[in-house]
């Protein structure tokens, strides 16, 4: 995925549009992540100022949502559902295969790829489910994931 490189000016522009909305902290953090791929530490103070909340308020929201990240993302991100419905249709196997195919472990990442668990993607009927860079895949196999990652990078 392509993100704008982080800069506080670009971030200010993003925040100008978000801080007036209801629930501005979460919306601002999401907007920053969409723009830059992550929410760096220094953004905490900026969001706090823009939304007129404390740094602690922002820190609380930022750490609560697993989707929000504080370091730059790898080139691709693969998330595999490990919730009950998907487990019952083979997501454990999918995890094992994916770890082999991508040469990395669940919850680990390198510059190129990260594998992360997710708890239900709302796609239970078509499990095992996974997501590659935000794109949802049903009845997923490790090969599907691998191809998609290749296509996307």
């Amino acid at each position: 995925m392509l993100f704008t490189p982080w800069s506080s000016q670009a971030a200010s522009a993003v925040l100008d549009a978000t801080c007036e909305k209801p629930g501005p902290v979460l919306i601002s953090l999401q907007a920053l992540q969409n723009e830059f791929g992550y929410v760096p530490k220094e953004a905490v103070e900026m969001v706090a100022k823009a939304c007129n909340v404390s740094r602690a308020d922002v820190h609380g929201v930022l750490t609560f949502y697993h989707d929000l990240r504080t370091s730059p993302p790898p080139k691709n991100s693969v998330r595999i559902c490990v919730a009950e419905a998907c487990q019952s249709v083979g997501s454990r196997k999918l995890v094992e295969d994916a770890e082999k195919v991508f040469g990395t472990q669940m919850e680990e990442s390198n510059d190129d790829i990260e594998l992360k668990p997710v708890y239900c993607l709302g796609n239970c009927a078509l499990g095992p489910s996974a997501m590659v860079d935000g794109e949802l895949i049903g009845r997923a196999t490790a090969n599907d994931l691998h191809h998609l990652v290749k296509a996307k990078s």
């Binding site: 905490v44 007129n52 404390s54 740094r55 602690a56 308020d57 820190h59 609380g60 609560f64």
Partner: protein
């Protein structure tokens, strides 16, 4: 005395007027319908186990320990979050409830240290016992190996003991209003966090509310570990600011373990700030001087002597000075840091034993204009409300005050109101925190140029008059209509419109109009103000302008409105009440009034001088001219705190005898010949009166370290001079105050002990005191409008000194810092810093954090610069907490026309980069007859400020009669070249002064 454990009812008191009856375990209780079941039970004497609830915070419902059963309802609701309703039948005990509670507690205990370092402080083990938990079967992952956060100097955060009940987070949000804490992460990883950094790096202001709220040992005062658990407590009053918080001093033997804010404290209701809560270590600091000392010359070393010797030495010298240079050659200054009783005896000693009225107080340099302005308009010198009143205000107009730094506990209350919807208007040259701070934003910030207060208040009043927003019913019913008519005519003049004044104030006229409309059109609007109002050449005019505004809009005489000076020091109100001003006796009664004098003459068995004595600046001038020879200074470091340091130093050097009574050797004692060691508030027995006129008891928690109470020292000195004032204890002094002062007639230590605190007036009419004043009529009868012409200060930005310096305080330090500099509070603020706007800095090549030279026409000093947008271009700002920076070397001796309160808030300065560090203070010496120069300046200033639409010369003559010493009047009459005086003064001199007064 034993350790006082205050009851915790679990949730805040209900406020509803709808009273319902419920039955709890067979006991019936009548209670407001918005009360929780938990609180209702506690009031019925049935305590329900709880962890996440405490009565200073709203219910949260997270621990599920407080479950109960309700007849006719399914399940087991939590009693903290469930309100009572009429006819409810509740049981708090059953086997099912026991099981649930044990289950919850077992889970908690499986991740809690078996033995807590904090011992009984931790409620967990007690609660486990209460619910009958026998064993913990679970094991596995825990948080027991997390590191401690010791970064705050006063308390520890030990995450291993934390049960994530959120009480600390909620205390920081709901009570303190800082929002410094959060729960980070989620699920098992959830931890309390000061935004991912250590406490000291976080937004935490160290108020201690979270420590107070925490049910476990997770947040604990460090002294609890170093000294041990307390065994007894004494209720007393904080000795820092004018909020006057009540504390439980918790002691172990003779050692103070901690100061815990007292829930029953009228001013603070269980809250505190970093100073009162933690910064009391100065009281036992090794710098404390505890033996009297004397020396012949100020270049000699100090010699420790006995009390008898020191008192005898001082008395002999004072008497010798009087016999050589006259009765009026000595005087004294009372301290607003001391108790009412201590202050009362000092002014009594001066009036009765010295035989003159040369008594003044450090309140001269802070709130004397409040005294003058509110007396003229309302008839008494005091704020009109209690602090609680702010919760009922729709709009708060905050002028020249920075409560989050200077009155933090009031600021927390104000923030609570603002978060509930009260609107805020800030009038301040600086962007103070309340203009925009988490979850709070002022509706208007009128960012005026320093020195233009009166222009702004006139402009607001102009809008109110012009747009038909005057509350005519109130004015007609309550005010002096002649004065109102004169005022209305004056204020409606086009020159008072916001448009006309925009050039002076720099505030856009439309913004002023909007703010004025907002203030005038809500049901309840209140004004709070601080030293940014008083410390100006028109300080008194501004106070009257504020009073006019409140009267014109009917915002006086009920809850939620009023005019409220935020007093700087703990006992400014009290020291003024106690007759510390040279022109008035206790209770603000003029010394020239024979009836008032008679009351005291009978009580004191002496004859009193009917003429006003010298004010502090008069004493300085007179010392330099050689007439004033000896001074007794009670707990005030004038050499650091008073403006134009070089002038003060010259005056002190000129004196033959300087007696200093203080805790520490300070800047002033460098010029002293006698040092009487003072007592800290922990050793005092007496009362302080806070900004709400609330008289609070100060109780000794330890014996005096000097062997004497301060009032005893004063009495001994008076006796050695031949005037006995033998009291056995300070309660007797209060009895004498009550016997001589009508507003205090109902006050006694016994009654204070019974009621907790009393807001004066307390007399036959108001036996339990008066939370809100001027309810049916003003103290002076009818409220009097005063015409308030805007007269720009002579202290103007010039080409040589193009910037305006204004001064203030910060949260962790207190005034001259004698106390706070001797505590760990220096971790937050260890030097005075000069705030400067980016554009001004750039122009002068000044970088953030670099040394700069700050100079005014009276002196120069060096400090570090900080580039910030909190000050506008053209304005710089600093604090005056550290002697090294000597901020007052810069400030001038210009002062308020009516009271001589120094104009600290406006000094024209220039700033330049400096290669040198501090200790490079240069003072410019004053030359010539300074006293005569001051006399001329003061007379002309008075003439410029009295309204010109009624015979102004009478007002000038009257003012001089009332406030000037006979000697100064004489010099004005006889020695001043008429060419130096304004025409109004000349006309005034032609009047028979004595005739005017009578």
């Amino acid at each position: 005395m034993t350790l006082l454990i205050e009851p915790d009812y679990g949730t805040p008191a209900g406020k509803s007027l709808d009273i319902v009856e419920v039955e709890i375990d067979g006991v019936s209780v009548s209670i407001p319908s918005d009360t929780s079941i938990m609180r209702a039970s506690a009031l019925a004497g049935i305590s329900i186990p709880k962890l996440c609830a405490t009565d200073s915070l709203n219910a949260f419902g997270s621990c599920r320990l407080c479950v109960v059963e309700i007849d006719g309802r399914n399940g087991t609701p939590s009693s903290c979050t469930t309100p009572v309703s009429g006819g409810m039948k509740i049981s708090t005990k059953s086997e099912r409830l026991d099981r649930i509670r044990q289950g919850v507690m077992e889970l908690y205990m499986s991740d809690h240290p078996e033995k807590c370092a904090a011992g009984d402080e931790c409620e967990m083990h007690g609660m486990a016992k209460t619910v009958g938990l026998k064993e913990v079967r679970y094991e596995g992952q825990s948080h027991l190996d997390l590191p401690k956060d010791e970064s705050n100097p006063y308390f520890t955060f030990d995450s291993t003991e934390c049960i994530v009940c959120n009480r600390c987070v909620r205390a920081c949000d709901e009570v303190q209003g800082t929002f410094a804490l959060t729960i980070e992460n989620r699920g098992f990883e959830s931890r309390v966090s000061s935004s991912g950094t250590s406490f000291i790096e976080s937004e935490c202001v160290s108020c201690g509310a979270c420590v107070q709220a925490c049910p476990t040992g997770a947040l604990t005062e460090k002294t609890l570990y170093t000294i041990g658990t307390p065994t007894r407590s004494v209720i007393t009053t904080c000795a820092y600011c004018g909020v006057g918080c009540s504390f439980k001093a918790e002691m172990r033997g003779d050692e103070l373990v901690r100061m815990v804010p007292y829930k029953d404290g009228g001013a603070n209701e269980g809250h505190s700030c970093v100073k009162g809560r933690f910064a009391w270590g100065y009281a036992t600091h090794e710098d404390r001087i505890t033996t009297p000392m004397i020396r012949e010359k100020i270049t000699d070393p100090w010699k420790a002597v006995s009390w008898d010797h020191a008192i005898d030495y001082a008395a002999t010298k004072l008497k010798a000075l009087q016999s050589e240079f006259g009765i009026d050659s000595i005087g004294g200054i009372t301290s607003s840091r001391c108790t009412n009783e201590e202050v009362f005896v000092v002014q009594k000693m001066i009036r009765a034993a010295f035989g003159n009225n040369n008594v003044d107080t450090c309140a001269r340099v802070c709130h004397s204009p409040t005294g003058y302005g509110l007396s003229q308009t309302f008839g008494t010198s005091a704020g009109t409300q209690d602090f609680e009143s702010v919760e009922h205000s729709d709009v708060v107009l905050l002028i020249g005050a920075n409560p989050t730094a200077a009155h933090p506990v009031f600021a927390s209350r104000l923030k609570q109101a603002l978060r509930k919807g009260t609107k805020l208007i800030v009038v301040d040259p600086r962007q103070i925190e309340l203009v925009r701070t988490p979850h709070i934003e002022a509706s208007h910030h009128l960012q005026l140029l320093p020195g233009t207060n009166v222009a702004i208040i006139n402009a607001m009043a102009h809008v109110i008059a012009e747009e038909g927003l005057i509350d005519r019913d109130f004015v007609n019913a309550r005010c002096d209509l002649d004065s109102f008519a004169r005022w209305e005519e004056f204020i409606s003049l086009p020159e008072n419109s916001p448009e006309a004044l925009e050039a002076s104030t720099r505030v856009p006229a439309e913004e002023v109009r909007k703010a004025a409309r907002l203030y005038a059109t809500v049901p309840n609007a209140a004004i709070y103000y601080g030293l940014g109002v008083t410390e100006h050449s028109q300080g008194s005019t501004m106070v009257m302008g504020i009073a006019n505004l409140a009267m014109a809009t009917g915002n006086i005489g009920r809850t939620g409105v009023g005019v409220n000076p935020l007093r700087g020091q703990n006992n400014v109100q009290g020291s003024c009440d106690m007759g510390s001003f040279p022109h008035e006796l206790p209770g603000y009664r003029h010394i020239s009034n024979p009836k008032t004098r008679e009351i005291f003459e009978i009580q004191w068995k002496t004859v009193l001088n009917a003429k006003p004595g010298m004010r502090i600046p008069n004493m300085f001038d007179s010392a330099i001219s050689g007439e004033f020879k000896g001074i007794y200074i009670q707990g005030e470091d004038i050499a650091q705190s008073d403006p134009n340091t070089s002038h003060v130093h010259a005056a002190l050097r000129a004196l033959d005898l300087v007696i200093v009574q203080d805790l520490f050797l300070n800047e002033t004692s460098k010029f002293a010949h006698v040092f009487f060691p003072g007592t800290s508030f922990l050793e005092k027995d007496g009362t302080f009166t806070n900004a709400e006129r609330r008289i609070n008891r100060v109780r000794p928690v330890m014996a005096s370290k000097t062997g004497k109470s301060e009032w005893e020292v004063t009495c001994d000195l008076a006796a050695a001079m031949g005037y006995e004032m033998g009291y056995e204890n300070s309660a007797q002094i209060m009895d004498e105050i009550a016997a001589t002062t009508p507003t205090f007639s109902g006050v006694s230590f016994a009654k204070l002990d019974e009621l907790g605190s009393i807001q004066w007036p307390c007399n036959a009419e108001h036996p339990e005191g008066t939370p809100v004043m001027h309810i049916d009529h003003f103290v002076r009868g009818e409220g009097r409008f005063m015409v308030t012409p805007y007269v720009p200060t002579d202290e103007k930005a010039t080409r040589k000194f193009p910037l305006l310096l204004t001064t203030g305080r910060i949260l962790s330090q207190y005034n001259v810092g004698a106390q706070t500099r001797r505590t760990a509070n220096v971790v937050w603020h260890s030097e005075d810093i000069l705030d400067i706007h980016e554009s001004d800095a750039e122009l002068r090549g000044i970088e953030d954090g670099s040394w700069v030279k700050l100079s005014s026409r009276v002196g120069e000093t060096i400090m570090k610069a900080r580039i910030t947008d909190q000050v506008p271009a053209g304005v710089v700002y600093t604090t005056f907490h550290f002697p090294e920076s000597g901020a007052n070397v810069i400030t001038t001796d210009y002062s308020d026309w009516a009271t001589n309160c120094p104009e600290y808030k406006v000094t024209a300065v220039e700033i330049a980069p400096s290669s040198k560090g501090p200790q490079a203070i240069t003072e410019h010496a004053s030359h010539g007859d300074v006293e005569l120069e001051s006399i001329i300046r003061m007379a002309n200033q008075i003439a410029a400020n009295v309204p010109t639409n009624t015979a102004p010369e009478h007002a000038v003559a009257h003012h001089i009669e009332q406030f000037w010493t006979p000697y100064m009047q004489e010099r004005l009459m006889k020695e001043v070249d008429r060419a130096a005086l304004s025409p109004i003064v000349i006309k005034a001199l032609a009047l028979d002064l004595n005739h005017v007064l009578s």
